[in-house]
């Protein structure tokens, strides 16, 4: 069976696209290094929603303690990549 593994760049791109779609902001305005709390103007409840959407999208589990303190898309992508 061939296993297709996403690259970190692909994972990051999918996160940015998902965040832009869900929070209704232009995709072009989001960068991997952005602080998503500030850039998207979200609180921790919305961050939890984003976490759930990412888990559903990638089919992974992201324990809260692994993303605690994470505020940029790039680090979020590496946390997800580690579970793909």
């Amino acid at each position: 069976m061939n296993v297709i593994v996403k690259t970190i760049e692909q994972t990051t791109e999918e996160i940015l696209t998902l965040a832009a779609t869900h929070f209704k902001v232009p995709r072009a305005g989001l960068q991997a290094s952005d602080d998503f709390y500030k850039k998207l103007g979200i609180d921790s409840l919305q961050a939890l929603e984003l976490l759930t959407r990412l888990e559903n999208h990638f089919g992974v589990e992201l324990p809260d303690y692994e993303v605690q303190g994470v505020s940029d898309f790039s680090t979020l992508a590496s946390r997800i990549q580690a579970r793909l």
């Binding site: 609180d43 921790s44 409840l45 961050a47 939890l48 929603e49 759930t52 959407r53 888990e55 559903n56 589990e61 324990p63 809260d64 303690y65 605690q68």
Partner: protein, 274 residues
């Protein structure tokens, strides 16, 4: 609708409402911001429980859901708990906590053992006491954006509305320990995989799925359904009593008040989240 127009079949209180139609009772939690369970919610739940014997005569199922966007329920009202505790000596505070817990346990136990088929339609946050309310139901229908969590250990306490005994009754101990000892939240897919939820619904569809499930239960003989439920869902009465004792012991520790103070002073919209 105001208090004067409330009837047995239809009621609107400060924090919830209920109605009965086509053999199904719908109990809607509706207290901003996230259905925190404090005295107001407890009193409304007690009112519902008082009416339940009469309601059970005309229904086959009960659906509990939330009208709040944030989710099913964020759990116990910790701000109220802290404010009440600050007004009195610790011995009086513990007495007040024990009284509250005895009352909420009576509500949960009555829901748990109702002859109706009970369904929690869960969306968004289902944390702490809210999770415990869902666990008192026979079935959990989870919106795919639902999130389940027992964050209590972060505050130096344990779940105290019957959560641990009910979780132990329903799912494997390894998952119980994971949820309890890490305080992490899990999504609907995981909840389904571990046997916590019985169905997952698309976003915004949990209530519709719960209604469809409830309609199915109205086709069965109630005596048989109630007997089947009693047979497979025993109340873990002794463990529930021990949970109250353990909570009251832990509650007296200074670390608990410090953690509650930190929670109360947080400016975050949802400070109980990780």
């Amino acid at each position: 609708m105001n208090e004067l127009t409330n009837t047995m079949d239809e009621y609107k209180g400060k924090s919830l409402s209920w109605s009965v139609a086509d053999g199904v009772i719908e109990l809607a939690l509706d207290r901003a911001p996230a259905n925190e369970i404090g005295l107001a919610m407890l009193e409304d739940l007690e009112r519902f429980i008082t009416m339940l014997p009469a309601l059970e005569l005309k229904a086959s199922a009960l659906i509990i859901y939330s009208k709040q966007k944030a989710g099913f329920s964020a759990g116990a009202d910790l701000r109220e708990l802290y404010a009440q505790a600050q007004k009195m000596e610790m011995a009086s505070a513990v007495k007040g906590v024990r009284d509250f817990l005895n009352r909420i346990h009576a509500v949960m136990n009555r829901l748990d053992t109702s002859p109706l088929t009970t369904i929690a339609a869960v969306h968004g946050v289902c944390f702490g006491g809210g999770f415990e309310l869902a666990l008192a139901c026979d079935l959990i229908v989870a919106d795919k954006m639902a999130r389940f969590c027992f964050p209590e250990l972060r505050l130096g306490i344990i779940p105290c509305f019957g959560g641990i005994p009910r979780l132990k009754r329903d799912i494997g101990n390894a998952v119980v320990r994971d949820l309890l000892l890490t305080g992490r939240s899990i999504n609907a897919t995981k909840a389904l995989a571990v046997g916590l939820a019985s169905q997952v619904a698309a976003e915004g569809e949990a209530l519709r799925v719960a209604r469809s499930t409830a309609a199915q239960t109205t086709k069965f003989d109630r005596t048989t359904a109630a007997a089947a439920k009693e047979f497979i869902k025993p109340l873990p009465a002794e463990e529930l009593r021990r949970e109250i004792e353990l909570f009251c012991e832990l509650f007296t520790r200074p670390a608990v008040m410090e953690a509650l103070l930190k929670f109360v002073e947080s400016t975050d919209a949802m400070p109980y989240l990780p």
